[in-house]
């Protein structure tokens, strides 16, 4: 079994809104998976179904090869929801211990793991402090530790970097890589595209409850590329017109061109080479995920979340 999670035609309808409307995708073991979508697209509902908080109206969740069992499989999942927090008045050590025990760890096991993690993230002095004494960034870090402490097979992080400074964000990012290397799968839900581009192998974009994009970051970019290239030349030739490309922009001696259908980048290079012009740099301009995201989502009216009974 190569997939940790398979969603088959998941549906969740509220009274006036199709929060999740027939979504299917697979997530490979050990991958870092990005679940993207604008606010109100149905991401949280989808994640809640994956974590067993909600039951789907129809469809199946297959976890590690078998049908997901919310009671027993919950311990194999670490979920950091977007609406997250900790008991403000509880001592940090006790709190982490309690949450680990709720995940099915024995007291002894939990203590051991807490020590390792606290040491690694330099949190040893926090044990007797209370959450209300921590800054927002510190409590985010703590929240992350509580999510991954029990070494779940599947880690779901909803906007994990919100409120973190770059130093701590990098720290958490490194931990996410580490966890993936040690065999955990990470689902990463966000609308911050630059992070996705950096971290994720595979992405799914949902909007209005439907999946509108599914693939690796590379494939998606290839799919949405517009054959744009940037060429840096030693000198600008007199003639920059050719049937193979269209000049989009020129800044000093850097050109931005779009290669027309039926031609290849070689045609462009040949054109300059024939004129004996030195090419200093040549590279393809791939669209950023951000551009793709905006292109796909813009104009759809999904941003306002409708509050309907959920269960």
């Amino acid at each position: 079994m190569n997939n940790i999670l398979e969603l088959h035609h998941l549906k969740k309808y509220y009274a006036t809104q199709k929060a999740v409307d027939d979504i299917s995708f697979d997530i490979k073991k050990g991958s870092i998976f990005g679940l993207l979508g604008p606010n109100g697209a149905g991401k949280t509902t989808l994640l809640r179904m994956i974590t067993g908080i909600f039951f789907p109206d129809s469809g199946d969740v297959i976890f590690d090869g078998v049908k997901f069992d919310p009671v027993n499989d919950a311990v194999k999942i670490g979920y950091m929801p977007e609406e997250r927090g900790l008991y403000k008045k509880m001592k940090i050590g006790e709190q982490v211990l309690y949450l680990a025990q709720l995940k099915g760890l024995s007291r002894g096991e939990a203590m051991e793991k807490i020590k390792v993690w606290f040491k690694r993230l330099e949190m040893e002095t926090w044990w007797n402090k209370k959450v209300e004494d921590l800054s927002k960034g510190m409590s985010q870090k703590l929240q992350f530790v509580t999510t991954v402490l029990h070494e779940p097979k599947l880690i779901i992080l909803d906007e994990p970097f919100s409120g973190l400074d770059p130093v701590n964000a990098n720290l958490i990012k490194d931990e996410i890589y580490g966890l993936a290397q040690r065999g955990s799968t990470v689902i990463f839900s966000t609308h911050r595209m630059e992070q996705v581009e950096e971290i994720c192998d595979h992405i799914v974009l949902v909007n209005l409850g439907k999946k509108i994009l599914d693939g690796t970051v590379y494939d998606v970019k290839q799919q949405f590329k517009e054959n744009k290239f940037s060429v840096k030349l030693k000198e600008i030739p007199a003639n920059t017109h050719h049937e193979a490309f269209e000049l989009l922009d020129q800044k000093a001696n850097a050109l931005t061109v779009k290669i027309k259908d039926g031609f290849r980048s070689n045609d462009l290079l040949q054109f300059f080479l024939q004129q004996n012009i030195t090419i200093e740099a040549f590279n393809e301009i791939l669209p950023s995920l951000n551009d793709i995201f905006i292109q796909l989502v813009e104009g759809t009216t999904s941003v306002s979340r409708k509050f309907q009974p959920i269960d």
């Binding site: 809640r48 974590t51 067993g52 908080i53 919310p70 009671v71 919950a74 311990v75 999942i77 979920y79 950091m80 929801p81 609406e83 997250r84 927090g85 900790l86 008991y87 403000k88 008045k89 509880m90 309690y98 949450l99 025990q101 709720l102 995940k103 099915g104 929240q143 509580t146 509050f307 009974p309 959920i310 269960d311």
Partner: protein
Amino acid sequence: MNKILLVARREFLSRVQKKTFLLTTILLPLLIFVFYALIIYFSVKTGDNLHIAVADEANILEGRIHSKEYMNFELVKNQTPESLEVALQQKKYDGYVYIPATYSLMSKDSLQLKSNKAIGIMTREKIQKSFNDILEEKRLLSLHISKAQLDSIQNNTNRIKFATVNGKTDDDNKAGISYAVGYISGFLIYIILFIYGSMVMRGVMEEKVSRIAEVIISSVKPFQLMMGKITGIGAVGLVQFIIWIVLVFGLQLLLPLIFPDLLQQMHGQPVQPAGVQAAQAIHDSGGMNEFMKSFSQINFTLIIGCFIFYFLGGYLLYSSLFAAVGSAVNEDPQDAQSLMLPITMPIIFAIVIMTKAVNEPNSSLAVFGSLFPLTSPIVMMARIAHGIPDGVSLWELLLSMALLIIGFIGTTWIAAKIYRTGILMYGKKITWKEMWKWAVRKS
């Protein structure tokens, strides 16, 4: 199950380890005790120590008026009101009583105690009693009735006694004690429901506001979280109550040690003058014995057993409803007030029925109130205090218990459905209508 216990353990420990818990649990009974002790202290000790001149021109008192530790009577002779007035103003006395030579025992005129400062109400009563007793006896004597004759008339004024079919005599003392026991235990349950019910509600609100609810729900079922909270806080309540009861009773036993002469003063009155007071004392102790006898007639095992059952049953029934309300509240605690109303109403309704039921345990209102699960924890305590079968028949008790169990399963089931929806719902003000929709929706 294990997870419910884990949650309950946290709920219990996080509350018991708080300083406020220690303060309220230990200081409250201490405060009550000190308050109680002070009341007794001041009611016994007046501390005035008045010096009062008694000018008995009519020779009525004949040396029967005696100084007591709180006041000093001095019989003075050959004084006029004017001379006494002067003495009073010179602060020779704190007050005086002038009984003119013309004072007739049978007259309706009152004597007057004139003092230069106001006299405390307890002291006034004592002075009145000393004078009234002496004057009454003198009047009787003047009618040739002896005190003994009077006592024999006054004794056993209850010429009619009450008994019920089950053969036990049902004296007034017992009815009185039953009344008190029923009232107090009903009221205690009322307080318990409010204190611990709203503690559950605040706990749920805290989880929702601090946004930890969804974190926990991802490892524990909402029902487990709710039941764990209810169980944990219920245990806090039980422990707190046991400590209170032990402390209150324990401290009460200390009372005679702190005020050794207190009880003597309370019961015995000053031991002299022999005749009258001795008779009084015997009468008193007879009353006390009778009181103890009636006290022992009340089935305390039954009452305590039922108290614990209805305490737990009522708590379970209402706390899940309080949890449901807590889950529906957003940041604004004001919302809680209006959402709580439908829950607090039956509790208040119950206390109203209870005050009727202690008087008439078998009225139809009391029967209804003691069977209906939302009111039975409070109302049944009022009936049970009168015993089985005087206050409540056995089948009614069993039916009421069964209905309460069904009731709390029902409310927990409904509340759990509201709870699991509400706990994850942010940013919207929720009405009872919506909560009802969640409750009746099929899952």
